[in-house]
């Protein structure tokens, strides 16, 4: 891809033969105008941000399909089909440059591009889907004859277990090594036998998405290498400033550095937990005070949150020590738990200053036996959630609104409604990070009583 300043752009003839869903396997030979470089990337970024929002709000796959279709039309559509494909390809490769530059950026980009690809793929007709599978050069054959007969009954059981009816007219099954379809295996959505998964035609998306993801992941590493060794320096007056500006715009604050609103001391922490913590953290905090212990997931979620809230390392050590020594004794605390706390603050090991978890991460976590982390709106039973909400001071009317959101799996909207009910104001941006909840809450409380501790 060559970036030029001229007014005209030469459109390569290759473009006409590319399918409508590019796989981005290689950067095609085309010229890009400098203005397009930035504009196309921004439009695609709007799409990716929309995808990210949709996922965080717990939209189901069908809803995501619709959302992607809408987003794509809104931001990426052009009157000429081949121009549209160009924009698609160009914007993807520009964003690769932007998002290859750190592990966190890579992870976000990989997740969003994969999700985008997945839903665009789902929107295609079956013949187009099969063609795309062919593009990847996957060697899988359909299961036929005696082998199919021997599996039919169990294939039917799998379909029924998913609430589907097995229609053997439309459905072809592909015999694929189980490693190629991890998400289908994880969800028990396929029959497994001796290391092979039997993937239905309607599940092809899984196969393709795994390939897409794997390819993009490797490509990002290569792109990063090229960027750091040659491109960044060579383009320092032209493309590099654009690239560097693009990545910071859409991810939101990460709360690694706490600001002046949030500097809490140990003596205030109990009061602050009742007045400003979101439900997830309040629950963890209460359980910690009650049991004098939290399992690993809870320690991470609460510990990083407290760091984001402004708890300094020494205070954090004192805080956790105070609780844990009631149960495990001071020697065990020093041996087994203190290291991990220091690790979270970037004082041990590879010295990464870990960022507090955002709602999307907390919602997708999987608390098990003895755990108290996770998102209460998702992980609590209705009764427990209602009890917790009433302890936060919600009226029964307010609670019904929240529960309605929960039943529709809009966990962050539920938390936002809780926030609005507790503080009597509206929160237009919506809650997507526990530390955001805390900061917004502190802003409101401090504006009411500027000097008293809240």
């Amino acid at each position: 891809m060559e970036v030029i300043r001229s007014q005209k752009r030469t459109v390569s003839n290759d473009v006409v033969s590319t399918p409508t869903l590019p796989l981005y396997l290689t950067a095609p030979p085309m010229e890009v105008r400098l203005e397009e470089f930035e504009l196309f990337a921004i439009d695609r970024l709007r799409v990716l941000k929309g995808v990210s929002d949709g996922l965080a709000r717990g939209r189901n796959p069908n809803e995501m399909d619709d959302l992607v279709e809408t987003l794509w039309k809104e931001h990426m559509r052009l009157s000429d089909v081949s121009e549209m494909i160009n924009k698609d390809i160009i914007s993807h490769f520009v964003l690769r440059l932007v998002y290859c530059r750190s592990d966190e950026l890579k992870k976000w980009f990989l997740s969003m591009e994969t999700a985008l690809f997945r839903h665009r793929f789902r929107l295609k007709k079956i013949e187009e889907q099969r063609a795309i599978v062919g593009e990847f050069g996957l060697p899988y054959k359909a299961v036929i004859g005696a082998e199919l007969e021997s599996l039919k009954e169990r294939l039917g059981l799998v379909a029924r277990s998913l609430g589907q009816i097995l229609s053997d007219v439309e459905n072809i099954y592909y015999k694929v090594p189980f490693e190629e379809v991890p998400d289908l295996v994880a969800g028990r959505r396929v029959l497994l036998q001796k290391g092979y998964a039997f993937v239905a035609g309607s599940q092809l998306v899984s196969l393709v998405v795994t390939q897409f993801r794997s390819h993009l992941s490797k490509a990002l590493i290569l792109t990063n290498r090229k960027w750091t060794t040659t491109i960044r320096e060579r383009e320092k007056d032209r493309l590099t400033p654009i690239v560097e500006a693009l990545s910071t715009s859409y991810l939101g604050p990460d709360y690694t550095q706490s600001n002046e609103y949030a500097d809490i001391s140990l003596k205030d922490i109990d009061q602050v937990s009742k007045s400003s913590f979101p439900l997830c953290m309040r629950h963890l905090f209460e359980k910690l005070r009650e049991d004098h212990h939290l399992k690993h997931g809870g320690r991470m979620q609460l510990g990083l949150f407290l760091k984001g809230v402004g708890l300094k390392l020494d205070d954090a050590l004192a805080f956790w020590r105070e609780e844990f020594t009631k149960k495990v004794g001071s020697e065990r605390f020093d041996k087994e738990y203190a290291y991990a706390i220091r690790h979270n603050y970037g004082k041990e090991g590879k010295r990464t200053d870990y960022t507090p978890y955002a709602c999307s991460k907390i919602i997708t976590s999987a608390p098990g036996a003895g755990d108290h982390h996770g998102c209460p709106y998702r992980h609590f039973s209705e009764d427990n959630l209602k009890a917790a909400l009433s302890r936060m001071g919600l009226s029964s009317r307010g609670m019904e609104d929240v529960m309605d959101k929960v039943r529709n799996k809009h966990y962050q909207l539920a938390c936002t409604l809780t926030f609005e009910a507790v503080y009597g104001t509206s929160c237009d941006t919506g809650i997507n990070h526990p530390n955001q909840y805390f900061e917004e809450s502190q802003k409101i409380l401090k504006s009411k009583t500027p000097t008293a501790p809240v």
């Binding site: 277990s161 609430g163 029959l191 497994l192 098990g368």
Partner: protein, 451 residues
């Protein structure tokens, strides 16, 4: 130093479990003797070399040296990133440190000892390249469904939960995933570990490991939700159906009912009623059971009767709601289905305790368990350090495991099983793989000469 009287001779190791013995037979002195004479260094080295013994030109002589080990010493000193060039270096290291615990990690791209040399370049060149697929099942994760013990204790009433877990997981690993080289090991106190050693398993990525762990995951709960198994009313996936029919159903209705009497008290049966999503059915059964609270039946008989009543009621009402159709299975799964520690399985760099270590709290050796005979395994009969030491003292200092008496020595039996059932078939398969991939490589280089 007092010696506990051992009640019976070396053959029959059953200990009366109604009076649990507190055996204070773990100490550094015994541990030295154990690592000096009994620990099977050669076998462990052979296993972890996976055929790379240098005898074939296709062997990677540095393979063993890229494996991470960790030692936990007395006073909880923890040493990570240990690696050994060969068996005798490993043996020397263990004999000079006498670790309380030895963990096995992954095989890395470079020698863990030299990892810092590769750290400067920005991209991470020190990464795991191979690691067994491992599972860890710990009986404390079942505390909400076992009434005889809790926490670190285990007895003959609740241990069968581990037995049924082994059967379910082992069958699935072989039948569904096609794995063949599977080692089950007693964790020394209250659980089991599973090492899947096929080449395919060792090369799985974190995402693929996560997928396998999630495939096995059914129980999703903690004290914050009442219903921890949700099969969503549809029919069961063939894996779950097979597990239910072949293992779980009979275990629940047979042994579990006999030992745990899960309906016999109000506190116990309320927990089960909470799993039924229909409030009318709950009240119906509650009413019946409150009235029969003072019957003359034994705890076990009461429990069985109530289970039959529950099944009958659900059967008659099953068309009322989709969620009721799999309620019976959900209850059985909640009490009996394996609960694995997902985090252990998901990451390649996770360390796991080595087989044939000695557990510091119980003094018991982490011996292999035969999955085809796991009903016979008794965790309270596993050889302890003091028993092994006494055996050495009474039989002479050298324990030569290769002679025909090996069946009668306490540890010899385990080592023999390790070799014949696991190690030999594994090494045979590894050799074949090394040979065939070497042949392929040679063939390729021959081809590349044609311009």
């Amino acid at each position: 130093m007092t010696r506990e009287e051992i009640e019976n001779n070396g053959e029959d190791m059953m200990i009366d479990d109604s009076k649990p013995k507190i055996e204070n037979d773990f100490n550094v002195h015994y541990l030295r003797i154990y690592y000096g004479n009994l620990f099977p260094y050669t076998d462990i080295h052979k296993w972890l070399s996976y055929g790379h013994d240098g005898k074939h030109p296709g062997c990677d002589e540095y393979y063993f040296g890229r494996r991470e080990f960790s030692f936990t010493l007395e006073n909880d000193v923890y040493l990570r990133y240990k690696s050994f060039k060969n068996a005798s270096v490993m043996e020397d290291a263990i004999k000079s440190n006498f670790p309380y615990k030895i963990d096995i990690g992954a095989v890395y791209s470079v020698d863990p000892d030299k990892r810092h040399a590769y750290a400067h370049s920005g991209t991470n060149l020190f990464t795991p390249v191979e690691r067994e697929l491992v599972f860890d099942i710990d009986i404390t994760d079942y505390d909400d469904v076992r009434y005889c013990c809790s926490g670190a204790d285990v007895c003959s009433k609740c241990w069968p939960l581990m037995t049924v877990a082994i059967k379910v997981i082992d069958t699935s690993l072989r039948e569904d995933f096609g794995f063949k080289h599977i080692l089950w090991v007693f964790s020394g106190r209250r659980g089991v570990h599973c090492w899947v050693c096929d080449a395919k398993a060792r090369r799985l990525t974190n995402e693929q490991r996560s997928a396998v762990a999630e495939y096995f995951r059914v129980y999703k709960g903690n004290e914050n939700n009442a219903k921890k198994v949700d099969l969503m009313g549809h029919s069961l996936h063939p894996f779950l159906a097979r597990s239910y029919v072949d293992f779980l159903k009979n275990f629940f209705e047979g042994e579990l009912q006999a030992t745990q009497s899960i309906f016999s008290s109000k506190e116990k049966y309320e927990k089960i009623l909470g799993m039924i999503t229909d409030e009318d059915i709950q009240s119906d059964l509650r009413g019946k059971w409150e009235n029969s609270a003072r019957s003359s039946l034994s705890e076990e008989a009461t429990s069985r009767l109530r289970w039959e009543q529950l099944k009958k009621t659900l059967q008659s009402k099953k068309n009322k709601a989709l969620s009721l159709r799999t309620c019976v299975e959900e209850i059985v799964f909640t009490f009996t289905y394996p609960r694995i520690d997902l985090e252990v399985s998901k990451q390649m760099n996770h360390l796991l305790k080595a087989p044939f270590c000695v557990h510091p709290k119980t003094g018991r050796v982490c011996v292999p368990i035969d999955p085809n005979n796991c009903d016979e395994f008794d965790p309270l009969a596993v050889p302890t350090l003091s028993q092994l030491i006494e055996e050495i003292n009474s039989g002479g200092l050298r324990m030569d495991v290769d002679d025909d008496d090996s069946d009668r020595s306490l540890l010899g039996k385990s080592i023999k099983f390790f070799r014949s059932s696991f190690l030999e078939p594994l090494l045979k398969s590894c050799k074949e793989e090394i040979e065939s991939s070497y042949k392929t490589k040679i063939a390729k280089t021959k081809d590349s000469f044609s311009w």
